[in-house]
């Protein structure tokens, strides 16, 4: 039985080295523009950074995947095509794509390039996954966070495409790549600009002793004095619906599926993914190191250590998310 592959985020060259040194099997990253879904100021890789990162990773037998997973703008396909062409030219081990037209471009012009389907394509059933395989030769699909483990198992039984699932980090409660909440409030969206609830539209305002976190013209949360104020990611806010106020969509919590390793293995999952290209190298080293130790123990049949990752998660709270039915 093959071991899980551990797929780790890098938002800059230092994070890439931290991920490689801490036990990643592959690192994923994006270019410094709107072609990737973590298009944040000061983050991501130039072409030269990628070349250097590839050299560092390959020397240590670690792969590098390039995420080009936003949707190319109509009338302006070049930045996205160039990103795919450059990733192929520089020797990336795979590109992670979501857009049908861009997949078509990659399959036609780079038949040797390994294609992974991004979570942003939200392929949640075997029929969809087989279509991406047959049409473009997609070899692996990153599953949207909408499926339970038994659903993932049935899906794997029906296709020969490898599956990769998120096990740690930020958690979208919505099907990824099918969400325009951010653009409704700010005009900027994950699919178009590669941003969600962007910092450029965030303000914190005092309100009668409380603190309001605002996104555009909307209050996403109110914090009492002394209460730690979280970042106003739209779907992690407190709202009023049906008379009650609360975290309507999702609590400020992070995914941690470490306890599900045996179930995910039985379900036929090939690779486990850690979210967080926006995170520091210290965070990457700690989380990747913890997962490396857990996967090594699991592969050797030893008890899986349960490291304390509370300091690493949003709001200090962890969830197994959609993998367990109760989340719904």
């Amino acid at each position: 039985m093959d071991s899980f592959e551990l797929i780790c985020p890098a938002g800059n060259p230092a994070a890439l080295r931290a991920a490689v040194d801490s036990g990643a099997d592959a690192v994923y990253l994006g270019f410094r523009d709107a072609t990737n879904a973590r298009n944040f100021p000061g983050l991501n890789f130039s072409r030269d950074d990628l070349a250097a990162g590839l050299a560092y990773a390959h020397a240590r037998k670690v792969e590098v995947y390039v995420a080009i997973n936003t949707y190319p703008q109509a009338g302006n396909p070049e930045p996205w095509r160039r990103a795919v062409d450059d990733a192929a030219r520089l020797g990336a081990d795979a590109v992670i794509l979501a857009d049908l037209g861009l997949l078509d471009h990659a399959a036609r012009h780079h038949p040797e390039l390994r294609l992974h389907l991004s979570v942003q394509a939200s392929a949640a059933n075997a029929e969809a996954i087989r279509l991406y395989r047959d049409a473009f030769g997609v070899r692996r699909v990153v599953l949207p966070r909408v499926l339970t483990v038994p659903e993932i198992a049935r899906l794997n039984a029906e296709t020969d495409v490898e599956t990769e699932v998120f096990v740690f980090g930020g958690l979208c409660p919505m099907a990824e790549g099918r969400c325009s909440l951010s653009s409704y409030a700010t005009g900027l969206s994950p699919n178009k600009q590669g941003v969600c609830s962007p910092a450029s539209h965030v303000r914190y305002e005092p309100r009668d002793g409380a603190l309001a976190s605002r996104l555009g013209d909307f209050t996403i949360n109110l914090f009492a004095e002394g209460e730690p104020a979280g970042y106003p990611t739209l779907c992690k806010g407190r709202f009023v619906a049906g008379g009650g106020a609360g975290y309507l969509f999702e609590e400020p919590t992070s995914l941690n599926a470490m306890e599900l390793l045996p179930d995910l293995k039985k379900a036929g999952v090939r690779a486990l993914k850690i979210e967080g290209r926006q995170r520091s190298k210290a965070y990457i080293a700690a989380v990747v190191g913890a997962y490396r130790a857990a996967l090594d123990a699991f592969a050797a049949g030893r008890p899986v250590p349960r490291p304390d990752l509370d300091a690493m998660v949003e709001g200090g709270a962890q969830t197994t998310g959609a993998y367990t039915r109760a989340w719904r």
Binding site: A128, E151, Y184, S189, G216, G242
Partner: protein, 307 residues
């Protein structure tokens, strides 16, 4: 290159809300008898748990709409993950004597080689994707609500070259997100599996306000919609000039025949778009919005010279 549609085409999208079967049946009876729409799209696309309730009314409504001379399509579910959703999707595609509008890539896969439509829940952002979809038999595409005017224009142009009709939603709350989790149930302290169908209490969805009392979003089971109603009456002329030939109205619990008449009046050149927008404002229980089209905050409404 195909010639543009002779006259602008009005499409009524599927009812997104959990209406009782009688309301559903009465709604489509009135549409069949009185509404100046060309195409009517039917089906429960938000939650498979609701589908059995409208099954009988669906069959009856299809027959009535066809008899009234409407083109009738069936829409596939938005999110297809579980076994029951997959079975429903396969049955729909296998049995449909009518054109199917695919809202998920799984349905698109099953429709390969057959004449079909692509719904607004398939991510279509650019010409290359449109060309790929056309190559698989799509005859019509309905664009995602968040696309700005420049993208709509580019896609309408590409659609004309490819012989694919391009549609834009011009009325109704904008669909913003879909989830495996039911927010209607969650707002009532319930679980999706024991939801008691509380979504049926809100015929236009459940209002979501900010903590300081500002209207913001609308929950419809597993779906999240905008609070504001898309209203592009003032943009219809510009859309038509771009080559957009189909205009989608999303049904709400209001006088939809009057809404449809307002849009038809503008498309026929009989009334002014701004004037029709004023009428629409009076018919809905929330502000109107057109910000997505104007490449700004989706919730906003842009007026005047900018339109």
């Amino acid at each position: 290159m195909t010639s543009p549609a002779a006259s602008p085409h009005l499409t009524l999208g599927p009812v997104l809300f959990n209406w009782p079967a009688e309301r559903w049946r009465d709604f489509y009876a009135r549409i069949a008898d009185e509404a100046a729409v060309d195409t009517v799209i039917l089906g429960e696309i938000v939650c498979f748990k609701r589908a059995p309730f409208i099954a009988d009314a669906l069959e009856e409504s299809v027959a009535r709409l066809l008899a009234a001379g409407k083109e009738v399509w069936l829409a596939s579910p938005i999110l297809v993950g579980g076994d029951r959703e997959r079975a429903a999707m396969r049955d729909l595609v296998a049995d449909a004597p009518l054109t199917v509008e695919a809202n998920d890539m799984g349905a698109l896969a099953l429709l390969d080689g057959r004449r079909h439509a692509v719904g607004p829940f398939i991510n279509l952002y650019n010409e290359a994707t449109l060309a790929w979809l056309a190559g698989r038999g799509a005859v019509s595409v309905s664009l995602p609500a968040e696309l700005p005017a420049a993208s709509v224009a580019a896609l309408a142009g590409a659609g004309r070259e490819l012989g694919v009709e391009v549609e834009v939603q011009v009325f109704g709350r904008a669909p913003l997100a879909i989830s495996a989790r039911c927010y209607h149930a969650r707002a009532h302290g319930l679980h999706k599996d024991g939801c008691q169908f509380v979504c049926g209490n809100d015929s236009n969805g459940l209002a979501v306000e900010t903590l300081d009392g500002q209207s913001f979003l609308t929950v419809n089971g597993t779906q999240t919609l905008s609070h504001g109603y898309l209203c592009l009456t003032a943009e219809l002329e510009r859309l038509a000039a771009m080559g957009v030939g189909r205009f989608r109205l999303s049904p709400h619990d209001t006088d939809m025949v009057r809404v449809i008449d307002a849009f038809r009046g503008v498309l026929d050149g009989q009334r002014d778009g701004a004037d029709a927008a004023a009428e629409i404002r009076a018919l809905v229980d929330a502000p109107v919005a057109n910000g997505f089209f104007h490449d700004t905050v989706g919730a906003s409404y842009v007026t005047g010279a900018a339109v």
